[in-house]
């Protein structure tokens, strides 16, 4: 009875070790290849990632920057817009259907790669459920760029961003739009 229980316990411990070990190994190997970093436009200016590494780019869609590039017949039109954190901008090309909540002046997170000419080629533009929602990374990027202090109110209107003085708190230089 007792040896049987001991033997069973040994089996269970062995199985658990195998299970946990393989789960850990799988997690670590999958992590290596599949973790995607978030970068703001300022991050990209500071340290430009190579074209081989996919990452997420986030910020606000700059007001008035969205344009549709003319497409050849049967081809999909490419959307081009600029993503800004108030200090720097990155041009983004995206071929596809923009999500329902994509709008100028709103927070956006895109996923893709930076081409050698400095244009971000997005494979995915992420949608949100709620128009008042600010992706946490975008909010953080705005804070780091010194453009928005959440305590002082909502994010500034993007139309004002390129002329904004980074040293000045954003919510004072805000104009309604």
């Amino acid at each position: 009875m007792n040896t049987a229980r001991k033997k069973r316990r040994m089996w269970v411990v062995l199985l658990c070790a195998i299970g946990l070990g393989s789960a850990t190994a799988l997690t670590l190997t999958a992590f290596q290849d599949n973790i995607v970093f978030f970068r703001s436009p300022s991050d990209i200016m500071a340290d430009r990632p190579g074209p081989e590494r996919a990452f997420r780019l986030g910020g606000l869609v700059e007001a008035g920057s969205v344009e549709r590039l003319p497409a050849a017949s049967g081809q999909l039109p490419t959307m081009r817009f600029r993503v800004t954190d108030g200090v720097h901008q990155v041009s983004v090309n995206f071929q596809g259907v923009l999500p329902d909540l994509f709008r100028e002046g709103q927070g956006v997170v895109t996923m893709g790669r930076l081409t050698p000419d400095g244009v971000f080629r997005a494979s995915e533009v992420l949608a949100r459920h709620d128009e008042n929602y600010m992706p946490p990374e975008v909010a953080d990027a705005l804070k780091r760029a010194g453009q928005w202090q959440p305590a002082l109110g909502p994010a500034p209107a993007p139309a004002t961003w390129n002329t904004m003085d980074p040293a000045r708190p954003a919510s004072q230089g805000r104009t309604g739009s």
């Binding site: 973790i35 978030f38 497409a71 049967g74 259907v97 997170v109 459920h129």
Partner: protein
């Protein structure tokens, strides 16, 4: 006035919950029968109070009472009546009232159906449920009161998020919540057992139906959410490994493990501490899911604008319940003495393997889901973990799980031999290989989907083999087998059907691996080819709805010169919310879906962006999930569950087989 009544009812429920969490537990400790007897009426009273509060909130929505803040923020007079009703739980505050109401209903159900429960156990279970209810009612009243007034009232509400104005919303949250909250009951049973220091077959017999019911509802809730995302978001996918989706998958996985280990407790009186631990973790995962959704700490499609105070409160509740449970566990778990022993190769052994693999998958999903949060708070790194990680890390664990789940039900308890197993399953292996090569040939040598199909065939075949074995289908004449099939317990049917459901889901997921999609800009009259069909855009026109306007495309799907389907996807514009939504057009024949979405239009070029998909076996994902839940329901209706559980004394004498 009605809002104040609702607020009062909620406060009353809080007081009743407080009484329910003190008196019965105290009574069970001091063996005071009168105090223990207060549990059932208190649970019923609490249930009525919360139901009254919920009805008041719903009334405020239906009459569009703009003096109620919650209504102003989430409703609008132009909204159809159905969405005014479902909108009651389409927001943070309302959904929490629904959460506590379902919890109170579960408590009332325990007190109503648990007449045969030993009175101390019943009092303790209801006491723990009262304690959970107390925490959440405090949360509702402190941070998320749905009855707050606003004065002066605005002319009209701000409207419900258009994406939520859908029948999917009417059903998805309630089903999911029944699942989440069902694990509160198994948690309460676990805590009660820890306090009593005793777990036996009778306990297992009470826990199993609750874990079955919770699991079945959670399965339906998750499947419905996935289906809703499939047709409402218009991305053509069914699962995005989004943090909030994962948050519902975590309790489901642990719940699956619990479901199986509870059988071992009931039948064999083994794995007792482990089952208790699973019951605690399953509820912990449910709370974690609630926390992740409601706090918005993770970047998710479900993230609504939110309030950090609420997140902290739920985190506090999570800590309180889990820390308490684990302390109790550490203190009392050694009192649980396993009586049944078993060999590694046996049905118990197979269930241990199931638990191990399911828990490993849970660990992988858990780490992947919470890693961004961890990396941010520890290293200040902004990272995201997406679908490629979850696929790469969880699929290798799913493979042995599918392999083993076929064998488990065919093994006898205590000790099994491998030779009879091979005799029963060899034809399933042949079938799986045949399906593999067939799929490889037909799909143009796509290996992964073919492997998926092979496993699906293996699992479904094994479920049939299980039933054939139990009814002795190939060993006796058909009449005898029919008689045996009729005499088979429903739990056996339920298990086989649920396992087959997993196989069907696996086939659906593999089929989606062969899905084709195409994104084109088309002018009316133009057409494009996909999956052997010609898709022709006939035109785009304006359509007027009750609270929206839309652009609706007409697309003919043509094969061999014949129009097979006319599909009308549209893109709606909701002026109140200033938001677009996508209305997908889907034509299904249960083998594949034709799926069309209209995107933006370029009026200058006269073109519209159309995305079309050919989704092979997509309906099987939800069909299979429904079959799984059906299996759970069938198992739940088993005579053994309906007939009262054996009393403690008989259970102690000899465990029923």
């Amino acid at each position: 006035m009605i809002a104040e009544v609702g607020h009062f009812a909620l406060t009353l429920a809080l007081i009743l919950a407080f009484a329910q969490s003190v008196l019965p537990l105290l009574g069970a400790e001091t063996r005071d029968a009168r105090m223990m007897a207060t549990a059932a009426p208190l649970a019923l009273g609490q249930c009525f109070a919360i139901a009254a509060a919920f009805a008041c909130l719903m009334y405020s929505y239906v009459i569009n009472d703009t003096t109620v803040m919650n209504v102003v923020q989430n409703s609008h007079s132009a909204k159809p009546l159905l969405y005014k009703i479902t909108g009651t739980w389409g927001n943070h505050e309302g959904s929490l009232v629904l959460w506590v109401m379902i919890l109170a209903l579960c408590g009332a159900a325990v007190s109503a159906f648990g007449r045969e429960l030993p009175s101390a156990l019943k009092a303790r279970v209801l006491g723990v449920l009262g304690l959970i209810s107390l925490g959440f009612l405090l949360f509702v009243l402190k941070t998320s009161n749905p009855f707050d007034r606003v004065w002066p009232p605005p002319a009209d509400g701000q409207g419900l998020n258009p994406i939520l104005q859908d029948i999917g919303l009417a059903l998805h949250p309630p089903l999911l919540y029944v699942g989440y909250v069902g694990y509160a009951v198994t948690f309460a049973f676990a805590i009660a057992a820890l306090i009593e220091g005793r777990v036996d077959a009778a306990w297992g017999r009470w826990v199993r139906p609750w874990s079955l019911a919770a699991w079945s509802f959670l399965t339906l809730g998750i499947a419905l959410g996935s289906w809703w995302a499939y047709y409402e978001l218009g991305w053509g996918g069914y699962w995005f490994w989004d943090p909030v989706e994962n948050a519902s998958l975590l309790p489901w996985l642990i719940g699956t493990a619990l479901l199986h280990s509870a059988i071992v407790v009931e039948k064999r009186e083994a794995l007792k501490t482990w089952t208790i631990l699973l019951a605690i973790i399953a509820f912990g995962m449910s709370l974690l899911g609630t926390f992740l959704v409601r706090s918005g700490v993770l970047n998710s499609v479900h993230s609504f604008a939110n309030d950090p105070e609420r997140g902290m409160f739920i985190l506090g509740l999570l800590m309180f319940y889990l820390a308490g449970a684990f302390l109790l566990f550490a203190w009392r778990a050694s009192a649980m003495i396993p009586t049944g022993i078993f060999a590694p190769v046996s049905r118990e052994g197979a269930i241990v393997l199931n638990n191990l693999l399911v828990c490993s998958i849970t660990a992988v999903v858990f780490v992947g889901t919470l890693w961004p949060l961890f990396a941010d708070s520890m290293f200040g790194l902004k990272v995201s973990v997406g679908a490629p990680f979850f696929n790469a890390a969880s699929f290798p664990l799913v493979v042995p799980l599918l392999l083993a789940m076929a064998a488990g039900p065919l093994m006898p308890w205590k000790r099994a031999a491998l030779a009879p197993l091979v005799m029963k399953l060899w034809w399933c292996a042949v079938l799986a290989f045949a399906v593999f090569f067939g799929a490889l040939l037909l799909s143009g040598e796509k290996v992964l989907p073919a492997v998926g199909f092979a496993f699906a065939a293996w699992v479904i075949g094994a479920a049939i083999a299980d039933l054939a074995d139990r009814t002795a289908l190939f060993r006796t004449n058909p009449a005898n087998a029919w008689a045996r099939a009729r005499g088979l317990p429903r739990a056996a049917w339920g298990a086989a059907i649920a396992h087959a459901g997993i196989g069907i889901v696996a086939a659906g997921i593999s089929g989606m691996g062969l899905a084709q999609e195409k994104l084109v800009a088309m002018a009316p009259g133009e057409s494009t080819m996909l999956a052997g069909y010609e898709w022709r855009l006939e035109g785009v026109r304006d359509v007027e709805g009750p609270n929206w306007t839309a652009r609706r495309a007409t697309i003919s799907v043509i094969r061999d010169g014949q129009v097979l389907h006319v599909m009308e996807p549209s893109r709606r514009w909701f002026p109140v919310a200033r938001q677009n939504t996508t209305e997908v057009a889907i034509r299904t024949n249960l083998l594949f879906d034709l799926y069309a979405v209209i995107g933006e239009e370029d009026t200058a070029a006269g073109q519209a962006i159309i995305r079309i998909h050919f989704n092979l076996l997509a309906p099987w994902i939800w069909l299979g999930s429904a079959i799984m839940a059906l299996g759970g329901g069938l198992s739940l209706s088993d005579r053994r569950v309906r007939v009262s559980a054996p009393s403690r004394r008989t259970a102690a004498q000899g465990a029923p087989a």
